[in-house]
């Protein structure tokens, strides 16, 4: 009777762990990128998988777990408000975008990547009361959208395999 719940818990843990591993790998290889917030955002692939395989609730769980734990482990709590703001906005945008039938995971993920940067920079501009900070977005949005689209391809390929498998029924 608890099998469904247990399965969801196991899936949440697995997806969270997966996204943390990618966060960790990314923190090991800091790319010499010129702007704060400019990065691959590999771990978002798992949030995307959670969204497509299990729905918005699971994606929120994975995103929150990932943000809290990766700040605790790698980024530090100074980064937490920005990660949280970017992460939640990204989640909201991807959840809404997924409902549009004209978007594939690639477009959904691109919008999510851009939204992540948007959330972070908006909060940064608000906290420092420096509207000029929004100029970061001229570079961060295209890059965030691009890396997001790449991760979308990755997640779409994984989804194809997972949804074809009997052992991992999609819910």
């Amino acid at each position: 009777m608890q099998a469904g719940k247990l399965r969801r818990l196991a899936a949440a843990s697995l997806l969270c762990a997966g996204s943390l591993i990618l966060s960790f790998l990314e923190s090991l290889l800091p790319l010499p990128l010129p702007l704060p917030g400019m990065k691959l955002g590999l771990s978002n692939a798992f949030v995307l998988l959670a969204l497509y395989l299990y729905g918005g609730g699971m994606a929120a769980l994975v995103q929150l777990g990932k943000v809290l734990l990766s700040c605790l482990l790698f980024a530090g709590f100074g980064a937490l408000p920005y990660s949280l703001c970017g992460g939640l906005l990204s989640l909201l945008v991807m959840w809404s975008a997924k409902r549009l039938p004209l978007l594939s995971p690639v477009g959904v993920s691109a919008l999510g990547g851009a939204a992540h940067n948007l959330g972070q920079v908006l909060l940064g501009a608000l906290i420092t009361k420096t509207p000029l900070l929004l100029l970061y977005l001229t570079q961060l949005l295209p890059v965030g959208g691009f890396t997001g689209a790449l991760l979308g391809f990755l997640a779409a390929a994984a989804l194809k395999k997972l949804q074809g498998s009997q052992r991992h029924p999609a819910r």
Binding site: P36, G76, G78, V106, G107, V108, T128, L134, L135
Partner: protein, 118 residues
């Protein structure tokens, strides 16, 4: 990939252009305006070389002005994104260390007349 994906890309690129309007009001940049938590804590003229340590409850950064350009030279945050930002001199350019609630914006605060009347 579906058609809508390209629409999504276009929306993202269009949104990326919007902040450029912020540059319209910018005059001649001659000061690095340092803000912590939104409060202006220092205005450093770019023509004068110097160092400005910024120590707050959030952490430590060192701002350096050299040859008319401002850059963050040291920081004690884990990410060190601010050190990779390079240097700025043009009006409207910003540096930031967001974990420390710090921004450094090049602003043309003074009218050029100041220099002329001296």
């Amino acid at each position: 990939m579906k058609k809508g994906d390209f629409l999504a890309f276009s929306v993202i690129l269009l949104c990326a252009l919007l902040p450029l309007f912020l540059l319209l009001g910018q005059g001649v940049g001659d000061e690095a305006v340092v803000r912590v938590n939104g409060q202006v804590v220092a205005r450093l003229p770019l023509e004068k070389d110097g160092e400005y340590p910024i120590k707050t409850e959030y952490g430590y950064n060192l701002l350096r002005v050299e040859g008319g350009r401002a850059f963050l030279a040291q920081a004690d945050c884990p990410g060190l994104d601010c050190l990779r930002e390079g240097s700025v001199s043009a009006p409207g350019r910003v540096l930031s260390c967001l974990p420390h609630h710090l921004s450094v914006a090049v602003e043309g605060a003074r009218l050029p007349f100041d220099a002329l009347t001296e």
